[in-house]
């Protein structure tokens, strides 16, 4: 029963959702939608709880770098505390958010630019025809998308437009169509209970 009930729930709810939309009755399942959103919203603390328990364990066992786990826990506590106590979108929380989260998040994201630089120099090789085609097309697009490309030669922006409009559109469309079939089949398998990995057993 531990598996049958969830499988039945998935099947019934999924079929209702499919039929509601295809028969034009999507308004009729508004209650179900509301249940979905509300129940997912109330599960929002899941990630934080496992994060907290993981880092508490690190601190308790004095694993390497446990001091930083304390920093993480304190930050989580402070930001949550101030955010909940402050009214929605309140000035204190906004201050914390725009002083720390926005600039630091952006900086961490920008580290990748440096890695690209070193990888471009040390690892991107035209080791075979595939890689050669890829690198050439990539460099044309980079020049075509930067204003300097047009200054050097109008070829770059024309070629970039062509690459994006013709080969890229066709190939990415084919890939998107493939992904479309893939996600549809995955959804069908979940509805039918063929895919059960989320129930804690593998598909086998």
């Amino acid at each position: 029963m531990r598996k049958e009930i969830p499988l039945a729930v998935t099947f019934v709810v999924g079929i209702v959702a499919v039929l509601a939309v295809y028969t034009g009755q999507s308004q009729a399942v508004r209650g179900m939608d509301q249940w979905f959103v509300t129940s997912t919203a109330f599960a929002v603390f899941l990630g934080a709880i496992s994060q907290v328990s993981h880092h508490l364990r690190v601190v308790r066992n004095k694993r390497p770098n446990w001091q930083y786990s304390i920093v993480l826990l304190l930050a989580l506590l402070t930001w949550t505390g101030v955010g909940i106590w402050d009214k929605a979108g309140g000035p204190r929380y906004t201050w914390l958010f725009s002083t720390f989260v926005v600039p630091l998040g952006a900086t961490v994201g920008s580290l990748l630019a440096f890695y690209i630089g070193s990888a471009a120099y040390r690892a991107f090789r035209a080791r075979n025809l595939d890689a050669a085609i890829l690198l050439i097309s990539g460099m044309i697009v980079m020049l075509g998308k930067a204003p300097i490309g047009e200054v050097i030669s109008p070829f770059f922006s024309t070629a970039t437009s062509w690459i994006l409009d013709v080969p890229n559109t066709s190939v990415m469309r084919a890939i998107n169509l493939g992904v479309f079939v893939g996600t549809m089949v995955q959804a069908v398998k979940i509805l039918l209970g063929i895919e059960r990995s989320h129930l804690g057993s593998s598909a086998k």
Partner: protein, 260 residues
């Protein structure tokens, strides 16, 4: 009043067709009545060669299954299938295998796959529990952890197979510098290019699923692959028909039909 909303009839038929094909095909494959041929992929053939080289050099294979965000990421399942094959080969030739891992939930899955592989080769004694290593949840910490392993242990083979994000670049460069044979695979289009230019062998996009099905021969995966292939063939046929009709300016009838 029509049962199906105008403009959604064909879409509804697609859903019905998929439901039926899943109900029919997967049991057929499971019972062994219909086992399709799956084409070989050069990157998969390269695994055996890579394991051979690692054995010869006496250096380890480092396998990293990506940094999936969710447990139900299909790429991770494909990666587990491939890992099982790699682990069997490593067990057979007594080659060192190090599996890196960034999610606490992923660790037991990887461990189980590797252990089973060693048992199936009758080498449970040479299985070492520390061959699957949980490095860090945090992505940049994980990436530097893998770099550390690649350098310290002098990896002979660096396999990066699974759901990769921006860290793909860091590992591919690190592996390139240790001189390891590199095999990369991911379905994320924005990361494939880095693998193509920095790896010796590379699986592009959906090839990772095919590789997983090819190696594991697991009926659900094979069946899924078969249904998807039929789906793509039907789409290709429709597009071809559309292009032919367009040559005679008659494609509108087909478009109207599809939009029914």
């Amino acid at each position: 009043m029509p049962l199906i909303v105008a403009g959604k009839t064909v879409q509804f038929l697609i859903v019905v067709a998929l439901l039926l094909s899943a109900l029919v095909m997967i049991p057929r494959i499971r019972s062994g009545r219909h086992v399709p041929e799956i084409r070989r992929l050069p990157a998969m053939d390269a695994i055996d060669e890579a394991v051979g080289r690692a054995t010869e050099m006496g250096k380890p294979i480092v396998y990293s299954p990506g940094t999936p965000e969710r447990i139900d990421d299909a790429q991770t399942f494909a990666s587990l299938g491939i890992l099982s094959h790699v682990a069997k080969q490593a067990a057979k030739y007594d080659c060192d295998l190090i599996v890196t891992c960034n999610g606490a939930w992923l660790h037991p899955l990887l461990d189980e796959v590797v252990r089973q592989a060693y048992i199936s080769e009758g080498k449970q004694d040479s299985y070492r529990p520390d061959s699957v290593r949980f490095l860090a949840e945090n992505l940049s910490a994980y990436a530097s952890g893998v770099l550390g392993i690649l350098n310290r242990e002098g990896a002979a083979v660096n396999m990066m197979i699974g759901a990769w994000w921006a860290q793909s670049l860091i590992l591919a460069e690190g592996g390139f510098h240790t001189g390891a044979i590199q095999i990369g695979a991911t379905a994320h289009t924005h990361q494939i290019a880095f693998f193509v230019t920095a790896c010796d062998y590379c699986l592009i996009g959906e090839e990772i699923y095919a590789a997983g099905a090819y190696i594991g021969r697991e009926p659900v995966l094979v069946g899924t692959l078969l249904i998807q292939d039929y789906g793509k063939l039907v789409m290709a046929a429709v597009i071809l028909l559309g292009v032919i009709l367009a040559a005679f300016d008659k494609q509108q009838a087909l478009i109207d039909l599809i939009r029914k």
